[in-house]
């Protein structure tokens, strides 16, 4: 194990991205994600040998198109934002998925709707996972639950984006992004997927490349869409990630992602100490959703806990055997329940 540093989530993501060869950052400040652009702004000046480019864009609408531009040249690029800014980026998310542009978006959820609160929430699940933009498009969504995992997934985002020529979202929240903990920073990534067969770099010595998402009649556009669907199917088949904890003997299986999974794990431990048979499924890829994690668990009860009014719970219901076995517990407005609060919910279920 390398040396550990005590680092804030946002800073750790930025550093990991730089080490993953992401030298381009375009962003617009918004709490609780602003430390990511701030980190890049510093690095761009303090580490001249790395040729880091940082641009503060004028709006999120512009920023999401800027990352599309850099991605189109084959360079690794990302932005970081939060709910309101992410909403403004939705047209471009649809565009990037369609055009095959491998940009990475860090979305640090705060409590919506509207301007809301800058505290932790998970109310942008639908937006990220179902796609807040228009049309049949999909975006990979990864959700870490510790700063260590945040660093690793941050790097993986770039690999996946390149592998599938698709944008990838790292979905986290105010709690994890603003939190500090000890982390062993991941190493530098050097191997890259060769993108030269499609990128825009000037057509010297080759046929010219064109990137467009404008349909030219239903037949052409259906074929284009079927191609996209094929890409999405491949991702769905290959990129499902999750972690299960003590589910085999469990009567009650908690389901949670991101910071809530961290709290739920605490609750699980407390419950086990009390002799309650509680397990945990922690989806890491939210799209594709780890339906497989729920196979062979018929008869168990599921308690989905989210910092929302209930969004992932729909995907859980679509994954389990009997949707009637799924219960939900959520808090809103930036309130994060403690392990003890979740334990109380578990007890309520036990009683029934």
């Amino acid at each position: 194990m390398g040396e550990k540093v005590f680092m804030q989530g946002n800073a750790a993501m930025a550093e990991s991205a730089i080490r993953a060869d992401c030298k381009f950052f375009f962003g617009y400040p918004i709490t609780p994600s602003s430390e990511v652009p701030e980190y890049y702004a510093r690095a761009a000046k303090e580490r001249p040998e790395e040729n880091i480019v940082f641009v503060q864009g004028e709006t999120e609408v512009a920023v999401f198109n800027m990352i599309a531009g850099t991605a189109a040249t084959g360079k690794r690029v990302m932005t970081a934002t939060s709910g309101p800014g992410f909403s403004l980026g939705q047209e471009a998310m649809s565009f990037m998925s369609a055009a095959g542009l491998p940009a990475v978006v860090v979305e640090v959820m705060r409590s919506g709707p509207a301007d809301g609160e800058i505290l932790a929430a998970q109310g942008d699940y639908f937006q990220a996972v179902k796609g807040g933009g228009h049309g049949d498009y999909r975006v990979l969504v990864l959700a870490p639950y510790s700063i260590q995992e945040m660093c690793e997934l941050m790097q993986e985002c770039f690999d996946l984006a390149e592998k599938y020529r698709n944008p990838v979202i790292l979905l986290t929240d105010s709690l994890l992004a603003k939190m500090r903990e000890a982390v062993e920073l991941p190493g530098r990534k050097t191997s890259r997927v060769d993108q030269r067969d499609w990128t825009l770099t000037g057509c010297a010595g080759r046929e010219h490349h064109v990137l467009t998402t404008c349909g030219d009649g239903a037949a052409q556009w259906e074929a284009f869409n079927l191609n996209l669907q094929e890409k999405y199917a491949k991702i769905k088949a290959n990129e499902v990630r999750w972690q299960s904890y003590q589910v085999e003997d469990a009567d009650i299986v908690l389901v949670a992602y991101g910071s809530m999974a961290r709290v739920a794990e605490g609750a699980m431990k407390m419950a086990r100490e009390e002799g309650l048979k509680v397990g945990l499924i922690r989806p890491i890829s939210l799209w594709p959703f780890p339906e497989k994690a729920f196979q062979g668990l018929a008869g168990k009860k599921f308690l989905v806990t989210e910092l929302s009014a209930g969004q992932m719970v729909e995907d859980v219901k679509l994954s389990v055997d009997r949707k009637e076995d799924v219960r939900f517990f959520g808090r809103l407005g930036g309130v994060v329940p403690s392990p003890k609060d979740i334990l109380a919910e578990i007890r309520k279920l036990e009683v029934k």
Partner: protein, 250 residues
């Protein structure tokens, strides 16, 4: 036989999707001629807008991307920052630039992005069927100003070349048109200058082209050229509004 005019090499064989007499065609052709003459084709990245020129990527043998409506300058920023030595050419219509993309063009100018922008001002939305643009003239009828654009509810036509000239990040701003052979030649000169400034790293170079839209204006093409002369030029005067001298650039 000596060749007086030949279809530019930078063009593909595709037939355009423009209406007969559309100014887009004329300007596209000038661009292709310049890519040929200036030897730029292989280092060019074209950024096309949504609008009637949406399929222009098919006409050029050059790397190209079609931006979302209004966002071409932002997309181009991402491209140019990544590849500062490539020739990045942004093309926009008036709905695209002045309405949906006002913020993006203004801020490309604020930052002094080092690319060239060709702005086709035809005083109307062509592709979507002839709606009012911010450059529509007072009294001009469009499908969303069916009795003529009115100051009281829709305000004032926007003079982009003048606004751009005033932004410190812009090195060159000229307004030209294509309604006669002479004017077409002048447009080519303006474009050439704008393109060459990019290699001098002077910042954003901007050429506004007053351009006929016979379909949107419900006029025969030749009539449209006259209307442009009589109606548009008085509101959008031709001329160089800024030309940064040697060494003044970024």
């Amino acid at each position: 036989m000596k060749t007086i005019y030949k279809r530019p090499e930078s063009f593909t064989d595709a037939v355009t999707s423009y209406c007969g007499g559309c100014g887009h065609g004329i300007v596209n052709k000038l661009m292709a001629e310049l890519l040929d003459e200036m030897g730029l084709r292989e280092k060019t990245i074209l950024v096309w807008p949504i609008g009637c020129s949406v399929y222009a990527d098919k006409y050029f043998k050059a790397d190209a991307i079609c931006a979302l409506h209004g966002r071409a300058p932002a997309l181009a920023t991402g491209i140019k920052r990544s590849l500062p030595d490539r020739f990045v050419l942004v093309y926009q219509g008036d709905g695209d630039m002045v309405s949906e993309g006002m913020s993006e063009i203004m801020h490309a100018a604020v930052r002094g992005e080092n690319f060239s922008v060709v702005f086709i001002n035809n005083a109307i939305y062509g592709m979507t069927g002839g709606q009012m643009a911010p450059t529509t003239l007072w009294g001009q009828t469009t499908s969303t100003s069916p009795y003529g654009r009115e100051k009281s509810s829709s305000g004032y036509p926007v003079n982009m070349a003048e606004i751009m000239a005033q932004m410190p990040g812009v090195c060159y701003s000229e307004r030209v048109t294509v309604n006669s052979p002479q004017r077409i030649a002048a447009t080519k000169k303006a474009l050439k200058k704008a393109f060459s400034y990019q290699f001098e790293e002077k910042g954003l170079s901007f050429v506004e082209v007053l351009s006929p839209c016979p379909t949107g204006w419900s006029q025969k093409p030749v009539k449209a050229l006259e209307w442009l002369e009589q109606k548009m030029i008085p509101i959008f005067p031709l001329g160089v509004f800024k030309d940064m001298k040697e060494g003044e650039g970024k």
